[in-house]
Amino acid sequence: MPEPEGDTQAAVGDQRNFRRYLRQEPVILALLSGLAVIFFVAVTALSHLYQAQQEFLGNRWFMRGTTDLKQRHFDAAVMEFRSALLYSRDSYAYRLNLAESLIGLKRTGEAYAYFINLWDREPENGLVNLELARIAAQKGETEPALRYYHNAIYATWPGDEQVQRRETRLELIGYLLNINAKAHAQAELIALAANLEDDPSQQARVGDLFVQTQDYEHALAERLELIGYLLNINAKAHAQAELIALAANLEDDPSQQARVGDLFVQTQDYEHALAEYRLSLKAQPHDPAALAGAGLAAFQLGRYNIAERYLQAAMSANPNDAQSAARLKTTALIMQMDPFQRQISVAQRDRIVLEAFAAAGQRLESCSAAGAAKGPATIPVAQPALSEEWAKMKPQITEPGLRRDPDLVNTAMELVFSIERQTSNACGAASETDAALLLIAKLHESN
């Protein structure tokens, strides 16, 4: 029957085609896969070549740009960074440096667009936040500026993060002062001061800024801390300079003035110390510490009559002040033994000279004896000469002799002072009389 045979032949043909199809397709797929792999490997090799070249060219332009940026050739730097971006379109470093170059050219609008994109990618980048803050500040946009400044303070920075953060905060404070936001600036300063390292320049800067915010208390505290630090490291001259600056801006607060006076004493600037103590005593005339300090300052300045007054007052205010007591005793001795003080009679002067000369002789003896006990080599060279001179002059140092030759007073006292100086160097601490004579010698040296 034709129809069934035709059907069978068609089915057989169909079956053959399908089997051929089945044989071909898996093979073709396998071939395609192989071809894909080969093509992939070839393109990978090409890609390595391409990427290497792109990286090389990008780096080359980038290095040129960096050099020009450092040398502040911003125009050239912009062109070079743009060229670098041709080879690494999305490079963060290239875009960042390009933005910095644009800032250098004062093209802040374009720089802003780059920085904002960079910020989108890395919101925690300190430099980007800082630049955005500056741009916002320049545009007068306070809120964004503050936001970016704060971001920058707590952001990540390359290198020394603490330094960067501190500088950023200082810049923020400067900005806040510019826009007259003193309260906010003060708050930032307090935060800054809390984390400040022992760096005199920074502390001074912070102190100045506190003054600008009219927060004198913190300014003083900062300054005092600085000065304390300087004294600790024995930078007395620097500390003195800071103290002078501090004193110039000090309010009328007797306790602060007294404190400053103390610090001046530590720097051995007794003149300023005395001045501060005096200011303090104007408001609090019975302050024992200020009185003692003033007495000390005057004592150190050789103004013994002033020192005596202050020290007496100090003892009255605080009888237990042993140091002031000792100092007072020495002051009294000096005033007794200074032959050159005014308003003493000739007889009194001669008597003082005789006592001083005798004391000097005793000092020589005791010092020589001490030196002989230690050995001849320990005796200073000049000492025997002084002994001879003293011995030679002794017969003349009498009351009649001094009355006859007033110049002999100076000569005798010069010898006394020489002896006291020499023996002080050679034999160290002496009696109270010798100490007084030494101080008198120093006083008259400076005069």
């Binding site: 397709e25 073709i28 894909a36 093509f39 992939f40 743009r82 060229s83 041709l86 667009a113």
Partner: protein, 605 residues
């Protein structure tokens, strides 16, 4: 006359779904399990999907190599820096133009043009055939052209390279004709996706502009090819977005007006651009044949001169300068000038026959125009929040929608190249304005203009979308007098038929069956039933085994054409209730409606 059911081949129409289910033939049992399994696995449609993946891989690899080639051409012809030497700017495109002209005329004649229309031609005219030589030619000439500074882009050539590779692969695989036609667009999607690093846009563009329709199979192939090509491309070149802009925040809804203005201006610019291309291209083609050797070189020379005179940004694809425009490097005046000069440069390059694409120049022009409009608007309204980058990005979408007439693709393209969804509202509104204005001022899209200039008649996807579709409701007539109740017997039915005879109706009546379904009966059949003594039999019981296909009012009229030749009268029923008769339709009704449509009367909306 005995009405019989006829086997109906399956088709995707919703209207005949029930009919499909009822009449689909049972598949023969194969008898051998392994063979059945292999048949299942290696069905051509599934194999086509697997092939699409390979097409994507090869297209992706080709596009990667293409990008390398362009970069190397640029480095060796124009130099390594962003600032170019004046002599190179003039000589490189000119000399390259000479070489390209010789190659295109003598070696790779099909490499001319952008590649989009050539891919469409392969689909509609050449059964999917694109010679592999075209891919090679396009690769070489376009790389040379773009790398030397011609104002063209790499995306269109990538599209054609992908299509050509796919076509070659399909021919080797001896695919069926239908599959061969589809394989070129699949490759095109792969090439475009890799070039743009934008798979969604590529898929949409190919479906919107090349194929014009989609089914599950087409979509699957196109998507697989696009995805695999993008994976390959990202493996080698990274996955960063092409452009970066900050997130957009509209502070006030009224700011959308600013973007609408951009849409209007972009639409006008698109019209100017496409008119320029159409005019200049026809003029260039009208010149003597020997001038074709020099046209690319002259174009290159003029572009070089424009570059030397202060606008080097017009050379090449221009992505670096788009990025700079987004970062506010140029004043709004300069941006407007650049947009205009780029239009001129692209006109010169493209109409001279230099192989290369228009996508990148379109984006460039759009970006410059957008940033310029944005800058000008900021001067007038400083409170506007959009940055230059935002306006530039929206501008790119505007030109894409207005010039290339791909409105949906333009929206996704902007989203994909920027990776920034916050810009969606400005893009939507601006693109819509641009598209509508462009369409109203220039009804024919640029790709259609180019194909007609080439002497081809390819279907215009846009025109097809805009064309009115005739529907069943346009041809159906009221159902009065055409319906017989199923409970009636043959006697009663005959009485009704005789009493209410409508000569305009065919000699048949519809019968509503229980519980659902429709059937029909002729007067002659009723008479036979009565004669045979079945006069008391109800119509419902007599006709239950003879069901009719039915239509719905919104079905395309062409759906009715498939059935009206076999059934003289068909029911048109409501979608909500199959038992509710909306009307009836017959072959004369359908033909009459088509005749009316052809005469231009009563066009559908």
């Amino acid at each position: 006359m005995k009405a019989t059911n006829v086997d109906i081949p399956p088709n995707p129409s919703n209207a005949t779904l029930l009919e499909e289910r009822q009449s689909m033939p049972a598949r023969p049992f194969l008898g051998r399990a392994p063979e059945a399994f292999m048949r299942l696995v290696f069905r051509e449609d599934r194999f086509f999907l697997v092939l699409s993946v390979f097409i994507g891989i090869f297209a992706g690899l080709s596009v990667v190599c293409f990008r390398f080639a362009i970069a190397w051409c640029r480095i060796y012809l124009l130099g390594t820096g962003a600032t170019l030497a004046p002599l190179r700017m003039v000589l490189a495109p000119s000399l390259a133009g000479l070489v390209i002209a010789v190659l295109v005329i003598h070696v790779f004649p099909l490499a001319r043009g952008s590649g989009v229309n050539q891919t469409k031609a392969a689909l509609y005219i050449y059964n999917g055939y694109i010679p592999l030589r075209t891919a090679v030619g396009k690769f070489i000439t376009a790389a040379l052209a773009i790398g030397s500074g011609h104002s063209l882009g790499p995306e269109d050539p990538s599209l054609q390279i992908g299509a050509s590779l796919a076509s070659a692969l399909g021919r080797r695989m001896r695919l069926s004709r239908d599959r061969m036609r589809l394989i070129a667009p699949v490759g095109a999607a792969a090439g475009l996706a890799a070039a743009f690093n934008a798979p969604i846009s590529a898929v949409l563009f190919v479906i919107e502009e090349v194929i014009g329709r989609w089914t599950a199979g087409i979509l699957g192939s196109v998507v697989l090819a696009a995805v695999s090509s993008v994976v390959v491309m990202r493996w080698f070149l990274g996955s960063e977005s092409m452009f970066r802009i900050p997130a957009v925040q509209l502070e006030r809804p009224s700011e959308l007006i600013a973007y609408s203005v951009l849409g209007v201006i972009g639409g006008l610019a698109s019209v100017a651009f496409s008119s320029g291309i159409a005019t200049l291209r026809s003029r260039c083609r009208a010149l003597p044949a020997w001038t074709q050797y020099f046209q690319p070189a002259v174009a290159g020379l003029l572009i070089g001169i424009i570059a030397v005179l202060g606008a080097p940004q017009v050379m090449g694809a221009g992505y670096l300068y788009i990025d700079e425009a987004m970062h506010g490097q140029f004043t709004w005046q300069m941006l407007a000038v650049l947009a205009g000069l780029k239009i001129i440069a692209t006109l010169l390059s493209f109409t001279s026959g230099t192989p290369g694409g228009m996508f990148a120049p379109t984006l460039f022009i759009g970006a410059m125009l957008g940033a310029s409009v944005g800058g000008a608007e900021h001067v007038l309204f400083p409170h506007l929040s959009g940055s230059p980058g935002t306006y530039a990005l929206v501008g790119m979408g505007v030109l894409f929608a207005g010039f290339l007439r791909a409105p949906m693709t333009s929206v996704f393209m902007v989203l994909e190249v920027s990776g920034n969804y916050s810009i969606i509202l400005p893009v939507l509104i601006a693109n819509t304005f641009a598209y509508l204005i462009s369409r109203s001022l220039q009804p024919t899209a640029i790709f259609d203009v180019l194909t007609r200039q080439d002497g081809l008649e390819l279907p215009s996807m846009e025109e097809q979308r805009e064309e009115g579709t005739l529907r069943v409701e346009d041809a159906m007539r009221p159902a009065s007098g055409a319906l017989l109740d199923a409970v009636l017997n043959a006697h009663d039915s005959l009485d009704q038929v005789f009493q209410r005879w409508d000569a305009t109706l065919p000699d048949v009546r519809l019968v509503r069956l229980d519980p659902t379904g429709w059937s029909s009966v002729t007067r002659q059949a009723l008479e036979i039933m009565v004669k045979e003594g079945k006069g008391d039999l109800t119509l419902g019981s007599a006709l239950s085994g003879r069901q009719l296909p039915f239509l719905h009012p919104d079905n395309p009229l062409e759906t009715a054409l498939r059935y009206v030749d076999r059934w003289p009268l068909l029911p048109v029923v409501s979608r909500a209730d199959f038992r509710k008769l909306e009307g009836v339709i017959s072959q004369p009704d359908v033909l009459k409606r088509y005749q009316l449509f052809g005469e231009g009367g009563d066009t559908p909306e």
